[in-house]
């Protein structure tokens, strides 16, 4: 029982089933999510179980869909709007930035917006510049939003369930590469509060911070580093907002070295922000500068070789770790 393995997408679906069962205010809308069950099959079966009132297909109207979700949340529902690719969230950016994120403050706290935007991002399989972006940094910079990026099936389930029980707008960003990944998901209630990083692997020589699809990749790098006698700790913040600063600073205080691995482009990414926090608050803990391994500053090209060259690979992580470990011998 406790060895139950689920795919990431199955874990998400389970969270949706459980929460929709518990709370009639939860509903979900999106393109092709009802009859077709969604492009990644996350919403399969929901229509049959909860009916066409609470599970609805939409036209291609991202701004409208997001706006409707935000309005419904203000009116007390717990809507989930699925946007096929995070790239398309740009069409509803006004509703995210100027409405969802602002409403609570603009009403002096009297209004809340328990709205969830579920989407997926990242590179994969040559879907090119408009379907491959990692845009979490855009939401991270907007106060009032929560930014959640689970890397494992269990995290996906627990965080989605928590998202549906708290009162602020959540950008829940999945990754196209993770849906088929399997992992242990305990039976029964599983709720993961926001703001709690998870140490995916313990280590003593260097802290590797990664989220979403970079977590499995970084864990692979850590395995290989282990064979080289390097003990890497892998920390997954799981939620970027709120960010578990304490866990990060604690790990860095232990290892004195840090590499941040991010699929998004280097310039202006969340890694830069985490790096700036570490150096402001743990400057004297550091034996080497924090290194960032991130995407190239480029839109993602179609060509698969270039696509791969545009985002961090296992070897990039290993090279960065070697560099922070040897840097003080320069």
């Amino acid at each position: 029982m406790s060895d139950r393995e689920l795919m990431y997408r199955e874990a998400l679906r389970e969270a949706l089933f459980e929460e929709m069962e518990l709370n009639d205010e939860v509903f979900i809308i999106g393109e092709g999510i009802a009859e077709r069950g969604g492009s990644y099959k996350v919403t399969e079966g929901l229509l049959d179980r909860f009916g066409a009132g609470r599970v609805r297909d939409t036209p291609i109207s991202e701004a409208g869909m997001i706006g409707v979700g935000v309005g419904a949340a203000i009116a007390g529902s717990r809507p989930i709007v699925e946007i096929l690719y995070v790239d398309f969230a740009m069409l509803g950016m006004d509703m995210i930035v100027n409405q969802a994120a602002k409403f609570r403050l603009m009403t002096g706290g009297k209004g809340r917006v328990p709205f969830i935007l579920r989407t997926q991002g990242g590179t994969g399989g040559g879907v090119a510049a408009q379907h491959s972006q990692s845009l979490e940094a855009l939401f991270y910079h907007i106060p009032g939003l929560r930014v959640v990026m689970p890397s494992t099936p269990a995290d996906a389930k627990g965080l989605l369930k928590y998202a549906l029980r708290q009162d602020d707008p959540v950008m829940f960003i999945e990754h196209k590469h993770l849906y088929m990944n399997k992992g242990h998901v305990p039976e029964g209630e599983l709720i993961i509060e926001f703001g709690q990083a998870d140490i995916k692997r313990e280590g003593t020589d260097v802290t590797l911070i990664a989220w979403s699809n970079m977590v499995p990749r970084t864990l692979e790098a850590a395995e290989e580093l282990a064979t080289m006698g390097i003990s890497a700790e892998v920390l997954d913040p799981r939620t970027l907002v709120p960010l578990d600063r304490e866990a990060i600073l604690k790990s860095v205080a232990k290892t004195n070295r840090c590499v941040i691995v991010q699929e998004a482009v280097r310039r202006g990414g969340i890694a830069s922000d985490i790096s700036s926090i570490i150096q402001e608050e743990a400057f004297y803990d550091l034996d080497a500068p924090v290194q960032i391994v991130a995407g190239l500053n480029t839109p993602i090209p179609f060509n698969l070789v270039l696509e791969q060259a545009s985002v961090p690979q296992k070897d990039d992580v290993i090279a960065a770790v070697q560099s922070v470990l040897h840097v003080d011998t320069f």
């Binding site: 009639d24 205010e25 509903f27 009132g53 609470r54 609805r56 939409t58 036209p59 109207s61 701004a63 409208g64 869909m65 997001i66 706006g67 409707v68 979700g69 935000v70 309005g71 419904a72 949340a73 203000i74 009116a75 007390g76 529902s77 809507p79 006004d94 509703m95 100027n98 409405q99 409403f103 403050l105 603009m106 009403t107 002096g108 706290g109 009297k110 209004g111 106060p143 009032g144 709120p242």
Partner: protein, 327 residues
């Protein structure tokens, strides 16, 4: 598609309500502008002067469970939906006792407790937000209706098409009131679109749509009441284009020189507050003394609100920092 027939004789109670609301808005705006000129109100202030008939008539047709969504010109909607002038003045004066603790101001004013989704600084935002409230009602099996107040300017924005279309395919209890005051700041509607009869955009996506005189509070009431009834019977959404005109510039500091004088005179002749008063007197058989008493009360209410707001507590940086600690 103008509506003209008067279905029932309106009750005195209704006529009194329409007049009271219209006058309360008129007074709030005229006096509010004075406060602005005294430097007591900052930021933007878009007066609803001249358009009072629309909010007044529409909200009078709603029940407590119904929702509204409002615009950047939102004081009138807020008042018509039952907000108290005290909380509104305090909001404009940035006080802690304001509806939004002084964090929102004119452009975001709202009494959330009265199902008002708020004024909004983004032109066009009221429509999707309002459709969202209508969707929430439908999902929870309520027959509550949502009225989104919107503008001629917003009709050229993509949100108009997207959200009204969503309301249509889902048969939501949603009423879109396009307050066509014929200008977006200084831009004439004829310059912003070829087809200035905006209700046609509703028809083109299969939505029952009307165009009415927005300066007639009773007609607005009747049209919206009818639309509410249809919505509750599952026949929503409905679009109502209410034609009107501002009595002043776009915002307090805009002299509005671009507005032709004859046109202004024409609409001032059809002043919605005067009409509400005339109706109250003629159809409601109200005595002059009744009218005077109402006006005096409303004026006193406003003055009391100003006095209270002036001495109300200031927000503090410490409170604010605590408020945003989890941002």
């Amino acid at each position: 598609m103008a509506k003209t027939a008067r279905p029932n004789t309106p009750s005195k109670e209704l006529l009194e309500k329409l007049f009271t609301t219209a006058f309360r808005i008129r007074n709030f705006e005229s006096e509010g502008i004075k406060l602005y000129r005294q430097g007591l109100v900052r930021g933007y202030f878009h007066p609803y002067l001249g358009q009072e008939g629309i909010a007044t008539g529409a909200c009078a047709a709603l029940e407590d469970r119904d929702y509204i969504a409002s615009t950047h010109r939102g004081h009138g909607h807020c008042i018509a939906q039952g907000a108290e002038v005290g909380g509104m003045v305090a909001e404009l004066l940035q006080k802690e006792t304001g509806y939004c603790k002084g964090y929102g101001g004119s452009m975001h004013i709202a009494d959330i407790s009265r199902n008002n989704l708020g004024a909004n600084g983004i032109v066009g935002a009221s429509t999707p937000l309002g459709v969202g409230a209508a969707m929430a009602s439908q999902v929870r099996g309520s027959d509550a209706v949502t009225v989104a107040f919107s503008t001629d300017g917003a009709s050229n924005n993509g949100t108009f098409l997207e959200s009204l279309n969503l309301a249509a395919i889902w048969n939501l209890n949603f009423i879109l009131i396009v307050e066509n005051n014929q200008y977006a700041v200084s831009t004439k509607l004829e310059e912003a679109t070829r087809e200035t009869e905006l209700y046609k955009r509703g028809e083109a996506i299969g939505v029952e749509s009307h165009r009415i005189d927005g300066n007639d509070p009773l007609l607005v009431y009747e049209t919206v009441a009818d639309a509410v009834k249809k919505c509750r019977a599952g026949l929503g959404p409905i679009l109502i284009e209410a034609v009107t005109f501002r009595h002043s510039g776009h915002h307090v500091n805009d002299p509005g020189k671009y507005m032709p004088e004859e046109k202004l005179a024409y609409y001032k002749e059809r002043d919605p507050v005067d009409r509400a008063r005339d109706n109250f007197i003629s159809m409601g058989k109200a005595a002059a003394s009744e009218v005077e008493a109402i006006e005096a009360d409303i004026k006193a209410e406003f003055e009391a609100a100003v006095d209270a707001a002036k001495v109300a507590g200031e927000v503090t940086v410490e409170d604010f920092q605590e408020f945003v600690a989890d941002y």
